[in-house]
Structure formats: structure tokens, C-alpha cells
């Protein structure tokens, strides 16, 4: 049986805690063969999650309110819902399709909430105007499942202050 757990000095990674996959020697295996590696800056920890039949246009708190603190940054949220895929609309006979997205299942995230969001842009120049961020009106979501990871995912938060320390 291979060495699976190391609390000590690994040749690649230095001092720390390491756990390898089955059949991989934790002392010498490639990093991709490690289940846990304390030398990496961010581990894939799930902080919170949920399963809701419907989320209205007012959005949903992604934490169990009263029992979990905000992470202090907007987290990476992975979600799935009843409908995904391409959408194209507002067709114009002179110019063809005006709005198109490769993914209709858009969500807007804040420190503590997720809200379904429609795509929108105000002109044919594809979001060139100041403030035209492509985010349209809030939309309802059905049959949603999500996981909030302990990873920052927002402008201003994806810095060494949140990733390196």
C-alpha cells in the first residue's frame, strides 16, 4: 500500500500536510495526485449551498442567516437551474439579431445573495457605453441548486489579500 498521509517536509511543497489519492505515494507523487495539499493557496472548500424550487426576483440569501457569517468577499458560486443554454432575441430585419448570449442562466452575486439576472444591452455596439454592463432585469429562477466556494470571485476581491494569505 502506498504512503497516503504526510505531515512533514515534502520534496515538492515543503512543510505541511498532504494526503494522496489511493495508490499514489504522497512523498513523491505529482501534485495532481494529491487529495489535500496545504501548500496550495486556496482549497476547494464548500462554505454553503442550497436547493430551492423557486427564487424570486428579490434574490436569495445564500447562507443560513443567523448561523453563518459573510466571508467578507463575494464568493464563487456554482449553480444549475431548470433551463440553460443559448438565447437570441429582438431580431431586426435590417441588422439581424440584436441580443444573443451563449448562456441564459445568469446570476448576479453579492456578499450574501444570488439573484437571477437577464442579459441586456442598450445598443448595437455591444455594451460600449459607460454603465452598460450587460446586466438586465432580475428574473425568477426555478429548480436551482448552488454551492458557494471559499474562493473570491469579484472585481476587487481577487487579490493577494484574499488568495495568498
Amino acid at each position: 500500500m502506498a504512503n497516503r498521509v504526510l505531515a512533514g517536509n515534502r520534496s515538492t511543497g515543503g512543510y505541511g500536510l498532504y494526503v494522496s489519492k489511493a495508490n499514489s505515494n504522497v512523498l513523491t507523487c505529482d501534485r495532481k495526485e494529491l487529495l489535500f495539499d496545504s501548500s496550495q493557496k486556496r482549497a476547494g472548500e464548500v462554505y454553503a449551498g442550497g436547493n430551492q424550487g423557486t427564487i424570486g426576483t428579490g434574490g436569495q440569501n445564500i447562507y443560513t442567516t443567523g448561523s453563518k457569517d459573510s466571508l467578507g468577499y463575494i464568493p464563487l458560486v456554482i449553480h444549475t437551474e431548470s433551463i440553460k443554454g443559448e438565447k437570441e432575441w429582438v431580431y431586426n430585419v435590417m441588422y439581424g439579431p440584436w441580443w444573443w448570449t451563449d448562456e441564459i442562466a445568469l446570476i448576479k452575486t453579492t456578499l450574501t445573495t444570488i439573484t437571477g439576472s437577464a442579459m441586456s444591452c442598450d445598443d448595437l455596439e455591444d455594451m460600449d457605453a459607460a454603465g452598460d454592463d450587460g446586466i438586465g432585469a432580475a428574473r425568477s429562477i426555478s429548480d436551482i441548486r448552488w454551492l458557494a466556494l471559499k474562493m473570491p470571485c469579484a472585481y476587487g476581491y481577487m487579490t493577494s489579500a484574499n488568495f495568498d494569505t
Binding site: 505531515a7 489511493a22 496545504s38 472548500e45 464548500v46 457569517d69 456554482i78 494569505t165
Partner: protein, 151 residues
């Protein structure tokens, strides 16, 4: 260099195994500075993690069989595919997918939607709800850890 690994009694959390992030002292850092924590019964400001992010293999992943982590599915219009995965997370699964190619924005393509049914312990239904003759999507299954409304 900061203390990174503690097997023992931490001032906040009690006895357990703790690993801190790179420059944080595992003995007294805030909980969000921990990469790993065996503490249980977490609540409020001491909450650390609901669990590890984990992909559920489509096949393999047991014994010496390498895991297959995703599946490419071709679904014809108004049809359903059954996407199978290993039964390691019971029905606590979130299936996620992305289209292999976009239909394109140079012609009127209308709605090319697809969607999943409620995941079972080893499979889920994937439906083509759009107008394309067929769609090709890449599917992964993720361990949800829990299926309560909020966790």
C-alpha cells in the same frame, strides 16, 4: 514561517486537526484563515466549511480505476438522455453542463435550451428543450453534500 499544521487542542475549536493558510498561524488565526478543520458542530462566527468540493465521477474512481470526470452528451430535439454517474453521493448531486459549441450569432438561432431533471443516486435526465436538431453538452456531477434548502 507561520505554524501551519496543528493536531491537538486549538484555543478556538478544541481538539482536532487544523491546517492554516500560507502566512497564518494555525494556533490563533481567524477561522477563515484555515484551509482545513476537523471541528464539528460549527455555527456562527466559528463556521468553517460545509465540506470539500468534490466531483462525482461519471465512471471509475474506485480501486485502481481512474475516474472519468465528465461526459459528452448529444441530445436530439425534444429528446431525453440519461446521464449516469457513480453512486457515491446518493441523490446529493448537482449536475452542471456547458454547450460544446455555440450555435452562433450570425443567424437567427432562437432558443437552444437544455435542462436537467431531479438527480437520482446514479443518473439524471438531460433534455433538449430548444429548437436545434441536436445539442452537444459536456456534463459534470458535483457532490452537493446536502439537499436541504439552505446549508
Amino acid at each position: 514561517m507561520a505554524n501551519r499544521v496543528l493536531i491537538g487542542n486549538r484555543a478556538t475549536g478544541g481538539y482536532g486537526l487544523y491546517v492554516s493558510r500560507l502566512t497564518s498561524d494555525v494556533l490563533d488565526c481567524a477561522n477563515d484563515k484555515l484551509m482545513f478543520n476537523t471541528n464539528s458542530g460549527e455555527s456562527g462566527s466559528s463556521f468553517f466549511s460545509a465540506g470539500h468540493f468534490q466531483i462525482v465521477p461519471i465512471s471509475g474512481g474506485t480501486g485502481s480505476n481512474a475516474p472519468v470526470v465528465s461526459s459528452e452528451e448529444v441530445v436530439t430535439t425534444s429528446a431525453d438522455n440519461t446521464v449516469s454517474y457513480q453512486g457515491i453521493a446518493s441523490t446529493k448531486v448537482m449536475t452542471w453542463a456547458s454547450k460544446a459549441t455555440a450555435y452562433g450569432n450570425d443567424s437567427w438561432s432562437d432558443d437552444n435550451f437544455y435542462g436537467f431533471g431531479t438527480p437520482g443516486s446514479t443518473s439524471v435526465t438531460l433534455s433538449n428543450n430548444g429548437v436545434q436538431t441536436s445539442i452537444t453538452v459536456r456534463v459534470v456531477a458535483i457532490n452537493m453534500l446536502d439537499t436541504t434548502s439552505l446549508f
